[in-house]
């Protein structure tokens, strides 16, 4: 299992140019072939229904080559690029959590037997596959690390998450442009890939010859790349890669001031601004569905028609649903205002207390996919401003 880093330590940076190689675009298919030969199931970006989603990849041709995305609050469009970049977009509505934390999964089946009943442990929970994630952004890598801490919370370890997380191969991708709703730079989660990965690619397409600068992050990664045609990266290659990523960092679509954020939110639990958001929020749960760190789930117990066999299923849930906080005597969080407040405060403040990091990785999906364009960075700014008004 790739262990979650503690808050004070991070895996050593593998950044020297001696550990970087050049991979030509024409050889990318071979990278996929090597991974497939080693038994990995490839999942990565592909276009479907006018969006870039994550699905099984059969070949390079499945990638969104030459496409980019334009994102703003409640806006997402695909647009053709001038070049043939493989990864020239930012993030789509899906994240990698759908593979590690499946949207629907059976926890167990049970059947009646004589006077009682017994559990059939579910072999289908152990997937036969190991995933290779192709095209993991820095924010997404941080999101995976964040969910590592959720599903291994110090007291319990989710076996469903663990069996999928162990042994995955990560081909990470440095963002060469920032999206309209991106703010990973503010959150300290990107755009440069840092953390535990196997290979990290920076795609250079602004020169006469296009190529990938590949940073090797693990022995597994070294082994894989050794079987694919490549050559040593020179300093000017890695410099070009660094420059382009730094350029992305400077052009983020949004910013979030995280200074004293927890104290700010704690002291504004009853600020009138929440009523303002509540007027706009539809509690549609889109934000929690697209968010790469949201982890809430619910349990459904079902039987067959004659009541002989029962199953328990786990499926994604959202704190925005009206029944989320329902108990026998009532509902602890009924109003949309309370539900929105919980989501934001949990994401930016409670999460730190629970897991040692922020829950937000600055990917901007919640802004893009909110049908009414509620922007988490704007809401925080508004609360800060109301705070400043009350102070001054």
């Amino acid at each position: 299992m790739i262990e979650p880093p503690t808050s004070s330590e991070r895996p050593p940076q593998v950044q020297e140019s001696t550990n970087a190689v050049i991979l030509e675009h024409q050889h990318f298919q071979q990278l996929l072939d090597v991974l497939r030969k080693k038994g990995y199931q490839l999942v990565g970006p592909t276009i479907r229904n006018s969006a870039i989603v994550y699905d099984e990849l059969t070949s390079v041709a499945d990638l969104p080559i030459g496409w980019t995305d334009e994102q703003e609050a409640s806006t997402y469009r695909l647009k053709k690029r001038q070049d043939k970049a493989f990864f020239g977009y930012n993030v789509g509505p899906q994240s990698w959590k759908q593979f590690l934390f499946p949207p629907r999964i059976r926890l167990f089946a049970a059947k009646k037997n004589g006077k009682g009943w017994e559990i059939e442990t579910d072999p289908s929970n152990t997937p036969a596959v190991r995933y290779a994630f192709i095209g993991v952004r820095s924010c997404e890598l941080k999101a995976i690390e964040t969910q590592d801490r959720v599903f291994n919370n110090g007291e319990h370890l989710d076996p469903i998450y663990k069996v999928r997380r162990d042994g995955i191969f990560i081909v990470a991708v440095n963002c060469t442009q920032a999206g309209g709703t991106c703010f990973c730079a503010s959150m300290g989660t990107g755009p440069k890939i840092r953390g535990a990965f196997d290979l990290a690619l920076t795609e250079i397409t602004d020169e006469a010859v296009s190529y990938f600068v590949v940073e090797i992050g693990s022995e597994c990664g070294a082994e894989v790349i050794s079987e694919v045609p490549h050559r040593r990266a020179e300093k000017h290659h890695t410099d070009a890669a660094d420059r382009i990523v730094e350029n992305a960092a400077q052009h983020m679509g949004r910013t979030m001031d995280i200074n004293g954020l927890r104290e700010l939110l704690l002291s504004h639990i009853e600020t009138p601004h929440w009523d303002d958001v509540a007027r706009r929020c539809l509690t549609c749960t889109n934000c929690t569905l697209v968010c790469p760190t949201c982890f809430c789930s619910t349990i459904e117990d079902v039987t067959d028609l004659n009541g002989e066999r029962a199953e328990r299923w786990r499926r994604w849930d959202s704190c925005f649903t009206v029944d989320y906080a329902r108990v026998a005597g009532g509902n602890f969080r009924l109003s949309p205002k309370a539900r929105y407040r919980h989501w934001l405060t949990h994401k930016l403040a409670w999460w730190v207390e629970q897991y040692g990091t922020s829950g937000c990785v600055g990917c901007g999906r919640c802004i893009t996919w909110c049908p009414v364009g509620i922007d988490i960075t704007t809401e925080v700014k508004a609360i800060r401003n109301s705070h400043a008004k009350n102070q001054g």
Partner: protein, 160 residues
């Protein structure tokens, strides 16, 4: 009970704590020691409220006679507590029946007499009103909690 002892015990009743001495004397002049046996009614709903009681020992239950449902008890008043504010507030009639659940020893204070003294001495009147206002507030908060029926299956019949 000797007059000096009456004063001492009255002085120590929590309802009268920190009452200035001159007001205590006013009260004393209208106070008497009373006793009710288990099963007796201290007063009935609708009767003129001429007294209030500082309970020393025992227990009094306030009853509402809910017609087809019979008597329902909604509050008990026990040692160190005060029973009855209707003497102070027009139309000076009791709203409940008061039933001695156990033998009760109490101080009875002549409300009619004290009302006159409140009119004459507004300082004394203020002391009485502010103390009773506190009792009323406590009872109102408690009554509201009882109304919420928090131990029931749904909160006051409101399902979320």
């Amino acid at each position: 009970m000797q007059p000096e002892n009456l004063a001492e015990v009255l002085r120590n009743h929590p309802f009268l704590s920190s009452l200035p001495e001159q007001h205590l004397q006013t009260l004393l002049s209208c106070a008497s020691n009373v006793m009710f046996h288990e099963g007796q009614y201290l007063f009935h709903e609708g009767e003129e409220a001429t007294k209030f009681y500082l309970i020393r020992t025992g227990k009094v239950a306030l009853e509402v006679h809910a017609r087809e449902r019979g008597p329902i008890r909604i509050q008990t008043v026990g040692p160190n507590e005060v029973l009855g504010w209707s003497w102070l507030i027009s139309p000076y009639r009791w709203h409940f029946d008061a039933f001695a659940v156990e033998d009760v020893r109490a101080f009875a204070l002549d409300g009619t007499c004290l009302r006159t003294k409140c009119e004459v001495d507004h300082d004394f009147g203020y002391e009485m009103l502010s103390r009773f206002a506190q009792v009323l507030e406590q009872r109102l908060v408690a009554t509201r909690l009882q109304l919420l029926d928090v131990y029931g299956s749904s909160y006051a019949g409101v399902r979320a």
